[in-house]
Amino acid sequence: MPPVTRRTALATAAAAVATAALAAPPTVAAPAAGAETGPPVPPPERPLFGAQVWRLPQNGLTVAFVESRRAPVVAQYLFYAVGSGEDPAGRSGVAHFLEHMMFKGSRNVPNGAFSQIVAREGGNDNAFTSRDVTAYYQHVEASRLPLVMEMEADRVAGALLGAEEFEAERQVVLEERRTRTDSNPRARFREAFDAALWGPQHWRGRPIIGWEEEIRAITLDDLRGFYARWYAPENAILVVAGDVREAELRRLVERHYGAVPAREAPRRVRGPAPATAREPRLIRRDPGVREAAYARAWMAPTLTAGETGHAYALEVLAHLLGGGQGSRLHKALVEAGLAVAAAAGYDGDALGVGAFSLYATPRREVAPERLESAADDVVKRLLDEGPSEAEVARSIRQLTAGALFALDSLGAAPHMIGGALAIGLPIEAVEFWPARLRAVTPAQVAEAARAVLAAAPNTVGWLLPADAPAGSVRG
């Protein structure tokens, strides 16, 4: 599954943002204190979820709890602070492959039984792997919480990772790769584009699912070693949301997870950004593609790496540059008749260096270089003149206006809280994110834009139909 961040969790809160061919997660924006219009926003001192967070002294497991009595249901999410970013060199895909194998049984739960038992109890379960986390979750009727806790705790304590299921599961992973990537020209391009910017063996440039030949090379020992190294209670965050009382939850957590033996887990260290883009320009012609696509991405700081102070400003910048109708790219490319869609993307809630991206789908009659130069002009003008106060206020207003929609979903709180705590952010980064966004000033946006768009290594990419006129783009 794709990574989920604060913004993807909330993406649906905003009105539809124009979808680009290579859509980045749509950005959602935020209102400034004292914005002229817009609905009342919660006072900044009020936390979004009111989560309780504690640690088990026995083994260091972090627990976060959000109570919601809306329906008699509960969600259990176990996040491990490890993702494809920790895949060993030459073995991309290990974190994701291991996620698959975690359903193949643990000491007291036979192979395949986990999902079967959850389904029999009326629940849903699954898992996802991103660069930063691997997470396992179940949504169940509230009285089934002890059952899924018992099974999940058993899986932390001792997954079987048996040899009998390993090869068939490798075929499943390869089919998953073919479905997600190999049979989709846009996905193939996205993968090649990341590799062009970061390098195909940089942790940021490898696909989460892994390169095909490396998936083929993964051994069971690779998976077992990864599990032993990273799947320790002290490297995990349990997030429970739903219809359970805190005292009862504390008792259940003690009972089921308190008994899991402590193990040491290493602190993860993400490698630095490369000094330059591996390939500053990627032109890919693909006979399978019918509409061209443009992408440009700069290496960028996040809330955990580089000039972390730029992160919220970059989020505002992405909205005012490419957050749909009314954004600068939309005006200059879409309204001007050069592009079908245009967008900007940035995710600051990530571990290690990140990326700030632009995307566009040119209209068919528009030559690629014309679109590219119009996009360059948008960036240049922003750098020359900076953003206006009004557009920063508008972006902040729109990014934060829908913050409360996170309460209208069982999964949003676990996704946001688990994702943040797993990369070392404090719970306040989730609870008070609208206030943090609202604190962004136009000067900060201008400064962040200069730091990234004017200075950082970047790659321009074009995906072109095979029959696009030769020489229409510099190769």
Partner: protein, 422 residues
């Protein structure tokens, strides 16, 4: 088998009647300051004339591209400043509108939704933008085996009905679409008659009753014209669409049953066992878990005009398509011949009854569920009796329904890719 706690939960659905006779189904819940509303008419793309395929879809997109005095960007700002998620969608057999808003923004949501439906601007520049986006969208949809297989499947199964055409139109029909055709699509579809409404969240019945006229009274009273009757699903055997890809996607299907069929829920149980969600189905076990042939395989009831077809899909490496289809067909035949085991029926019933509360955790989903019930002409207490109906199902009844429903020899299949050995 588990059955204790989850039966206690009932979703309190009530019918709210507004002055003027319009009714809405409501699940009231004030725990979160959010309201979702969803509404629908029969029609959608099935009302598009053949040469105007895509008119309803373009109309749906254009309703939120400027209305009243607000041009497109101003309309979008008005929505987003208040975090109102408003959208319209043309479907094969219907046309839906929906919004979700914070309670505090509800009046603004109603104002903008009404404006969108009663005074869409259809400015020339907006029409051109939407047209360009639509053309790119339908072309991109054909870049993958999945998109190609879907297109070929429906046109083969319904060659003479609009549901056999892509909802979004074709590059040709979109390029030739005059704004009058879009205006006509809006005029024939957006009516006070034939309208079905559902709501969920932080709103009282009284407030909802007051809101409905404000939202819909500006629409003309007569219902949309009836769509052309849906012919039977035409079985077509096996078709291959050649597209360069290392993996093929297969879409398979056969005729199903009406939503009012007394065996509807038995059919859901049978299909859950054979091909339902998650890892537990026979197809998932046989095709993915045991043989590693795919990342996922599933099938279920796909409803149009209150009739369901049984539709499934799977993707696998070109060289293993033949094996994958053979295994799928074998499982289909085995279920038709033997039916599910008693244990399988118990497990499927336990899932289908136990998972009901999970459907009710967000307002959009609740409103969507209520709207689907209304479109299927379910009684308002349909969900209340569902658990008891499911539990009353015996293994033998399920086997009878499996034999009646599943037609392995009539399974029509489209494969898109470069399949080997078909």
């Amino acid at each position: 088998m588990s059955d204790a706690a989850n039966t206690a939960h009932r979703l309190p659905i009530r019918a709210v009647e507004a002055p003027g006779g319009l009714t809405a189904w409501l699940v009231e819940d004030h725990s979160v300051p959010v309201v979702s509303l969803a509404w629908a008419w029969e029609g959608g793309a099935s009302l598009d004339p053949a040469e105007r395929s895509g008119a309803s879809a373009m109309a749906a997109a254009l309703l939120t591209e400027g209305a009243g005095d607000l041009r497109a960007a101003e309309f979008a700002d008005a929505l987003r400043d208040s975090a109102i998620g408003l959208g319209f969608e043309a479907q094969r057999d219907g046309f839906e509108g929906a919004f979700r808003a914070l309670s505090t923004a509800l009046p603004e949501a109603v104002r903008l939704a009404r404006l969108a439906m009663t005074a869409p601007r259809l400015d020339a520049d907006a029409v051109e933008r939407v047209r360009a986006r639509a053309v790119a969208g339908v072309r991109q949809a054909l870049e993958t085996p999945r998109g190609q297989a879907g297109r070929a499947f429906w046109s083969a199964a319904y060659p003479d009905h609009p549901v056999g055409r892509p909802v979004g139109g074709t590059p040709e029909s979109l390029a030739a679409m005059p704004v009058e055709a879009i205006r006509e699509a809006i005029a024939r579809q957006l009516r006070r008659g034939g309208l079905l409404v559902a709501a969920a969240g932080d709103i009282t019945p009284e407030d909802l009753a007051g809101l409905l006229p404000a939202l819909f009274d500006g629409l003309p009273p007569a219902a949309p014209p009836p769509p052309p009757p849906l012919p039977p699903f035409r079985a077509f055997g096996r078709k291959v669409v050649e597209i360069d890809s290392p993996q093929s996607t297969a879409i398979f299907g056969q005729p199903g049953l009406g939503v009012d069929d007394p065996d509807w829920e038995a059919a859901q149980v049978v299909l859950r066992v054979l091909a339902g969600g998650g890892f537990t189905s026979r197809l998932m076990q046989a095709v993915r878990v045991q043989r590693g042939l795919t990342y996922g395989i599933g099938a279920g009831l796909d409803v149009m005009f209150r009739r369901a077809q049984v539709i499934g899909s799977v993707a696998t490496e070109n060289g293993r398509v033949a094996e994958t289809l053979a295994v799928t067909q074998e499982e289909w035949a085995r279920m038709a011949a033997e039916g599910p085991t008693a244990e399988e029926v118990d497990e499927a019933v336990a899932y289908l009854t136990g998972s009901l509360p999970l459907q009710f955790t967000d307002t959009r989903r609740i409103a969507g569920t209520l709207l689907a019930m209304r479109r299927n002409r379910r009684p308002i207490d349909w969900l209340d009796g569902r658990t008891a109906r499911l539990r009353a199902l015996t293994r033998d009844r399920a086997a009878t329904v499996a034999a009646r429903l599943l037609k392995p020899e009539a399974l029509s299949v489209v494969v898109a890719g470069r399949p080997v050995g078909l």
